[in-house]
Symmetry: C3
């Protein structure tokens, strides 16, 4: 994730003057950092996409949760007086942003769910510092692990606590071999599938949302946008070749983690190069296997993988970066 504040523009000078504008700017960057961009305009486009998608899918609580989570996490970082460079880049906000998406998406709309969003967003900041500290020696980022760990904890706890009852969590079952349905496969619109995959990064499932996300990426980094599309397309192809469940493929469920792996390996932590491209492609393909594996591991527990396949695959591929990709790091 980029930590330098880009071009001291009129906006940057404006932001420096007013703490409220600064907070607004950091909140937007927090949302943008979900896809590794340190850019308030990207964040604004992301929020627009999320609100559009959430209202289209009649789950407005997801959009409000997303905003609330980002604000609470950012506020926590300010109050705790954390490292100002990371703070200003939105690096303490993106996990809260996703906690705010995930909890209202799976839990009943009760006051305790909203208190859990607030607690989860605060703890996501503490988990971010913990993981940053933990991972420092290996020079890898916490990625979205704080979000996943905090959300998993609260979603699992929902089976113990009636006050935050799960409403759309998958039912706990033992894994079993998927059986291919008889009959014709539905015809596939590749464009639809690719952008749905991008959209699912925020647990949304619509083409328009994916398109706005991609535009948001392009505003900040054209390579990020290209790799997002490449990741979604490649993951779709691999999952189809391996004969995964058609409905899951079409819903983009094999793509969203691969999209993040693609942006991370392809553009954020490596400069684009042929060597890097091949490495990223192997990483994206392996992310699809990790997605398939983690789906199975979590079946008995009745919780979704969230973006953990991306986190695990990317850590695996980022730690050797300095061995495999010499001289690429600042």
């Amino acid at each position: 994730m980029e930590t330098s504040i880009t071009n001291k523009s009129a906006w940057a000078r404006f932001v420096d003057k007013n703490i409220f504008i600064q907070f607004f700017d950091v909140t937007l960057r927090g949302c943008a950092q979900v896809m590794f961009q340190n850019n308030p305009l990207t964040g604004l486009l992301f929020f627009i996409a999320i609100f559009t998608g959430a209202f289209l899918e009649k789950i407005p609580e997801v959009a409000f949760g997303c905003l609330l989570g980002t604000v609470i996490a950012t506020l926590t970082a300010y109050i705790s007086k954390l490292d100002i460079d990371s703070l200003r880049s939105g690096l303490y906000g993106y996990n809260g942003c996703l906690v705010g998406v995930a909890l209202p998406a799976f839990l009943e709309n009760t006051p305790f769910t909203w208190l859990s969003v607030i607690l989860g967003s605060i703890v996501s900041v503490i988990a971010t510092i913990s993981l940053m500290d933990f991972l420092r020696s290996w020079k890898v980022s916490a990625l979205t692990a704080p979000f996943v760990l905090v959300s998993w904890t609260i979603l699992l706890a929902s089976y113990s606590f009636l006050g935050i009852k799960g409403v759309s969590l998958p039912e706990p079952t033992l894994p079993h071999q998927y059986i291919e349905p008889i009959g014709h496969h539905p015809s596939i619109d590749l464009v639809v599938v690719v952008f749905r995959g991008v959209s699912e990064v925020f647990l949304l499932n619509s083409v328009i949302v994916g398109v706005i996300f991609t535009i948001g990426l392009a505003v900040s980094s054209i390579w990020a946008a290209i790799f997002a599309i490449l990741g979604s397309l490649l993951a779709f192809s691999i999952a189809s070749l391996l004969k995964a469940d058609i409905a899951s493929i079409h819903a983009g469920l094999y793509s969203f983690s691969a999209v993040l792996t693609a942006i991370a390996l392809g553009s954020t932590f490596n400069k684009p190069s042929w060597r890097g491209l091949i490495y990223a492609i192997i990483g994206i393909i392996f992310t699809v296997f990790v997605q398939g594996a983690l789906d199975v591991v979590l079946k008995p527990f009745g919780i979704p993988t969230l973006t953990m396949p991306f986190v695990l695959a990317s850590w695996l591929f980022l730690i050797p970066n300095q061995d495999i990709m010499p001289n690429h790091r600042r």
Copy 2:
């Protein structure tokens, strides 16, 4: 955990003179270190509480196991010539102490169970060194993780080995949403619930045991005693608000990990302060969520959480200590 030997009193000089008295002293401190106290009197009171509770509940094997585990672990540390300061403070004994409580509590009373207690206590020392080494860079303690990992291994293995058959392990099941029972809730005596929570740190379930534990804490550190009660009370309140299973709440099952988190965050690793108090409260609340989550994760495996919720929550909150609580560490 405090590593300095407190006040060179008559007792301390007496201990220095005789290796058997020293061993006795270190064994007592080992028991006291379960709740982070480096104090032989605390350890003596803890042993009194454990023997009282175990005999009251007609499970004397738990008390004898506790004593055996502490002695074996302490002996292992002496024979292995480990770091003398840590050894004298009881830091190699407390995990064996808990192994000795947990195995007889859940396994059939057979010779192999007792051999497992001995093996487990020895391995708990090895696991303590491993984890201390592993965690050194992040300046956090192993806490009770060695106890939990060793005990989980042996309890899980009891499903494979008839020689150490489980007798009171929870039956492996898939998680399902808890359903609130119809009818009136039993009336609650707050004092009973709070002290039962403290008592459950050693898997015991009686008020008098909790009271003696708290006195034992107060003898060594009044803040430790205060935070233990605060932790138990707060965990009870949060679990009640979140509508957890009433029977589990009353048995103190949501409190014992929170008690340890409270002592650790509130008094052992931070000096009491307003900032620290708020941080500890967030940590205690999150421990209740981790307890609820881990209960669900372990359901399919038929083993109890032991104190792992405390370990996980405390690691999460202790690693950022130097960022969140500047200048508090020696």
Copy 3:
């Protein structure tokens, strides 16, 4: 694992002259490193054993997979220009070697399974670098963890992907207490059981294979061969005493991880000594408990433990090496 190239013999000089002979040499060493030997003759004997066993058991795909995995992993290391000393010692090859054994052993014989072997072998090299980097501070080796993690991922994913369907994976179930069968136990030939245990390191189940493996070890290190037999024998005894499932004991399923722990603790990472012997014996015994525990943990997921019990137990016992075994490391 030994990293020094042994005696600059005629063979060593021959190898230095020709890149193809060198590749052949490194491939053999890769296979030998599964049991920590840096010796091409050991590797050759291992391959002979594997082909013999696989054809005897009518699973030739396991032997070809083994060869393919080692070659692909070695090739990946050459292409990625990894550390030449580790490469030449076969340290990037042994995980691919085992991936090539495990995947064809459990998955349907389809083109996608073979593509998964290739992908898995490539990723095993990346995982090796990752884990080496991760574990550097604690001076412990990655052992066979890269193999296990990559194979688990692909085996778990086989439940999601029809293209790599599992055919001999254990069915996912909840754990339950094993019930001892009524009737006479089959008579046991100790020699058969011990060598089967050694054979199961490569998932094979025949005495002759175990014998050739042991000869292969002896060619490189007589202590390694002795500890392999000791480990297998001790694990058999402990599992019998603890009353594990007779069929599993006889198939060597409690022994193969213990064999590796025995070689690792007894001869590879410690010089043989009385102190080391006692430490190794405790480690071997605990490996049997870890095997029993991990069998239970993996039941709901329908995958085998592979050599993970060895990895976990050995990490636990190797990290304290410098505390428990002072001055033994180079």
